[in-house]
């Protein structure tokens, strides 16, 4: 029997390939998107899950009163915490060392590096390709690197025992090579580690939050109670160590200590403010809806195509076929189509995985599909039940007498369901298309918004050895200024768009109030160079360097003035790091941390640790200018280091890279969605209009014009489409508004998407129906009037 079913199935495909092909195409697209989305979601949820200790390791973070979250903590704190609280059984720490120049022979490679505690690899047991994790960190002159870095420095050889130099100074011996690949971890941003020595240095103060600390906590604990306990314990200890009354310490260090499980930090850390899963949620929703749309196409096409199979069903029933048997036959057909679509999808996933991974910046492998096999199979099973069982039952319920008398083809059964499902598809399409347009408008706004400074054509040179270079500052600025193509040279430790960089966040005092403030060190040419407007007072003089004049001069931003509510700020004195500072100017607020964060109070001081040299370049011959700057820098200024530079606008754009990815995803998936819906519409319309050939013939016979017939055929679909769009508009509005709320700087809800997207969907719908309806105009009147 199965053989007979299969034969009929194949012959039907051959005879009427439209429906199965549309079904197959839609299903393949849907399953492909679903698989890709599941791979991505799985990858996002797998952060740190490779680590057998994942459930026991917690990272210490702090939250400031203004909601800012920092992942650092004071170095001495961990030791006393572990001694004081029985919940903690151990701790490990690491400290970012920034980019270090690693040299081996003629190879010089900048690499993000960290100093780590001796037990680091016990907490994070990355597999070692070479060396022994137990002994690798025994000597302070040992260097352990990632396999990727080892490959780029040494090639395929085992580098353990080789000697390299860091920053052209001390030699280090490679003691181990560890693998990051395949292990999703937040610790993948550095690729070289050396020992964090047991001795504390002058930076290891109780007020310096520059160390990442992880605790091992084997048992469950109460989050809120732990935060309370840690916060007050810190204040007590800090007050003791700083010899200050606890109230004074509180003013400077108002913050809460939290512990976050490393397995949850990637998506649910406090710093993400609940937005960590936004992209995952949108992607999952979109891919699931795509799958639902494929199922809808399946149901619609199967019902549409049912009349063509009605005779077969009727004859089977007449000859003794059971309803159950017929149901099984059609479910098997759906299963077979699903299986083919699934295989095609696997091939498509394999092909598209690299570009998809690039787009989302994740490393995905097709084999990961196996991990999610139960989920994928259950989804497909649901799909079969939804998409297969319904039409199967519908077909098996045909009344054979009615069918065999030829009285069936104009049956209206299933029409309401078909129209309802189609309306649902249109509505989903409209919602996401509008969403894509809104995201696009917000991104355009972010790209074009006046940031309060000019981000174009600014080259930023990272100074490798800040202390050694300070005496040469005036010389290189003068020389760079002379170069053709260089308009201005200025300096900062904290260019906008680069988040905190080396700048600090400090509690600044005015009379009795404290406000958390971003501290910027700049030179006197920074404001004119960046084209930041000075609203009141004046810029720095070249001589007004911080810590060198009697009373320090500072410039602040508008937000600073607003927070402290200072009237006539020029000449007022504030307290920074227990030093009096006079406000000499107020600059206009500028957006420095992207569009999701409000402008922070900022204080600018001149000189002192300005580590980024910024050059505003002419638009002409940029590559020539860069070459000249590189030549000058690597021969005259820092001959031991390669030049490291970036462009400000690119750095700034990276701040909304996530949103750009979301835009690409939503746009692509919306387009696929619309395409699948149109596929379905095309097939359903073809059938619906074919069913109305007789009506068309009657209308033509009694004198309808072509336009009247076209209008009549299009009307039904147009009403469904318009109805669906009307339902979609408020939903799209609510969802888009919620998405926009995440931005401090955002567009007013644009009206255009609410016209363009519906028009697009409506236009495409009408176009497809129109194409099919045109065919109806040339029907053979005689044939259709004579026969049912």
């Amino acid at each position: 029997m199965i053989n007979n079913w299969f034969k009929i199935f194949l012959r039907n495909i051959k005879k009427r390939p439209l429906y199965p092909m549309v079904n197959l195409l839609g299903l393949t697209a849907g399953i492909t998107c679903f698989l890709l989305a599941m791979l991505y979601v799985g990858s996002e949820f797998s952060y740190e899950k490779w680590n057998p200790n994942v459930d026991q390791i917690y990272k210490n973070i702090i939250e400031l009163p203004d909601g800012q979250v920092h992942v650092g903590s004071p170095r001495p704190l961990a030791e006393v915490n572990v001694a004081a609280f029985e919940e903690f059984t151990d701790y490990t720490q690491y400290k970012d060392e920034g980019e270090q120049l690693i040299s081996y022979g003629t190879k010089d490679i900048f690499s993000q590096s960290s100093r780590v505690s001796k037990n680091f690899f016990e907490f994070f047991p990355f597999p070692f390709k070479y060396g022994d994790p137990k002994t690798a960190l025994e000597h302070p002159s040992n260097l352990i690197i990632t396999a990727e870095l080892a490959q780029s420095i040494f090639g395929d050889i085992n580098p353990v025992g080789k000697e390299v130099k860091i920053n052209n100074e001390k030699p280090y011996t490679i003691a181990g090579v560890y693998e990051l690949k395949g292990n999703n971890t937040q610790l993948d941003y550095f690729s070289a580690v050396i020992l964090l020595t047991d001795k504390y240095d002058e930076n290891d103060e109780w007020g310096n939050f520059n160390i990442h600390t992880y605790y091992k906590i084997p048992n469950e604990f109460d989050d809120a109670a732990m935060t309370k306990k840690l916060t007050s314990f810190y204040l007590e200890n800090a007050a003791k160590e700083m010899n200050s009354p606890i109230e004074d310490v509180k003013k400077y260090f108002t913050m809460d200590f939290y512990l976050e499980n490393i397995g949850e930090m990637h998506l649910f850390s406090r710093g993400l403010k609940g937005k960590g899963t936004n992209n995952i949620f949108i992607l999952s929703l979109l891919s699931l809806l795509l799958l639902v749309m494929c199922a809808i196409n399946f149901v619609n096409l199967s019902i549409s195509g049912a009349t063509q199979r009605a005779k077969e069903v009727a004859i089977r029933k007449t000859l003794g076929g059971s309803k159950k048997g017929i149901t099984v036959q059609f479910v098997l057909e759906v299963m077979f189509l699903c299986l083919v679509a699934f295989c095609l999808s696997l091939a498509l996933v394999e092909i598209s995985l690299p570009s998809f991974g690039n787009l989302l910046d994740v490393d995905l492998h097709i084999l990961n599909v196996l991990e999610y096999l139960p989920l994928i199979l259950s989804t497909i099973l649901i799909l079969i039940v939804c998409a297969g069982l319904f039409p199967a039952l519908y077909l098996s319920n045909f009344n054979p007498v009615k069918v065999l008398k030829g009285n069936f083809s104009r049956s209206k059964s299933g029409t309401v369901l078909k129209k309802g499902l189609m309306a649902f598809q249109f509505a989903i399409c409209a919602v996401f298309l509008i969403g894509a347009f809104v995201i696009n408008a917000q991104l355009k706004y972010m790209n074009e918004k006046d940031l309060g400074f000019n981000k174009e054509q600014v080259m930023m040179i990272e100074v490798s050895d800040r202390d050694a270079l300070e005496p040469k500052t005036d010389m290189y600025k003068r020389e760079l200024n002379k170069m053709p193509g260089v308009q201005k040279v200025f300096m900062s430790d904290r260019p906008p768009g680069t988040m905190a960089r080396y700048g600090s966040v400090t509690r600044v005092k005015y009379i009795e109030d404290y406000v958390t403030t971003d501290i910027h060190f700049i030179d006197h040419e920074f404001f004119p160079g960046m084209e930041i407007e000075i609203l009141e007072g004046r810029n720095f003089l070249p001589t007004e360097l911080f810590d060198t004049v009697g009373v320090n001069k500072v410039v602040v931003n508008e937000k600073f003035i607003r927070e402290f509510n200072i009237e006539k700020p020029i000449g007022k004195t504030i307290d920074l790091w227990e030093q009096d500072c006079e406000i000499i100017g107020v600059v206009k607020d500028y957006i420095s941390k992207g569009f999701g964060t409000d402008i922070q109070p900022a204080l600018f001081a001149a000189g002192y640790r300005t580590s980024v040299v910024m050059l505003r370049l002419d638009t002409e011959d940029i590559s020539q200018t860069i070459a000249a700057v590189e030549d000058f820098w690597t021969t005259k200024i820092e001959p031991d280091y390669p030049l490291q530079y970036e462009f400000l606008d690119k750095d700034f754009a990276a701040l909304f890279e996530q949103h750009q990815k979301l835009q690409t995803l939503v746009s692509a998936l919306s387009a696929i969605m619309v395409l699948i819906a149109l596929f379905g519409l095309f097939a359903v319309a073809t059938h619906s209009i074919q069913q109305r050939y007789k009506e068309v013939a009657i209308r033509k016979t009694i004198g309808a014009s072509e336009a009247q017939i076209l209008g009549n055929l299009i009307k039904d679909f147009a009403i469904i489409c318009l109805g669906a769009i009307l339902v979609a508009l408020p939903i799209a509005y609510v969802l888009s508004s919620r998405w926009l709320e995440d931005f401090t700087y955002r567009i007013d809800m644009p009206a255009i998407p609410y016209f363009v997207a519906p028009l697009l969907i409506f236009g495409l719908t009408i176009f497809i129906i129109w194409m099919q309806a045109r065919k109806a105009l040339s029907v053979d009147l005689v044939k259709h009037l004579k026969f049912e």
């Binding site: 013939a697 009657i698 209308r699 009694i702 004198g703 005689v782 009037l785 049912e788």
Partner: protein, 231 residues
Amino acid sequence: MIKLKNLSKIYRTEDIETTALNAIDFEVQEGEFVSVMGASGCGKSTLLNTIGLLDSFDSGSYTFRGEEMANLTERQRANIRKENIGFVFQNFNLIDELTVFENVALPLFYNNVSKSERQDRVTEILKRMDIEHRKNHFPQQLSGGQQQRVAVARALVTEPQLILADEPTGNLDSKNGNEVMELLTDLHQQGATIIMVTHSSYDASFSSKIIELKDGQILAQKVNKREIKLV
């Protein structure tokens, strides 16, 4: 009113050619009630469809009210149809989604008749056909005879000069068939020109002229003078 001269129609498939109408010569005067008879496949319906401009012909001439119908465009044929010809089919050909009233009003709508006039004319014709009490019903809710009366009402509502009926009683029982024939006879007596294709000699006996077709050719034309009493 209608003059066919040497009119031929050939159906072609890949393998064979079938001559459906073979050099037909035939005239219909205004006010005549003509029946076309013959065995299945003799070309009756093809002849009717050709006269009704639903089908084209390959050679010869067809003049309708003195105008040549060969080589007309689809639009011209549609216009002549809608202004001059009413159709009644064996299978009624009503639109299932429209009510009785809407079905009958459809040709008026296509002829750009105003809404109020449509209302009046449809009501009047439905009364005449004795089907007005069913005006809000859908075709599927009516008996075969009632459906055919609606179809006739639709054919007459534009007051066409010619009524073409293709086996109008073919799908009806004898009682309903008689009702329809009575209706056509009434119309004929009121001056309507009718061409009817039928298998039934009984139905043909209502007409004033009977044409017999065989293999696409006219076998005989005879004037019918017999008085018929409805049973």
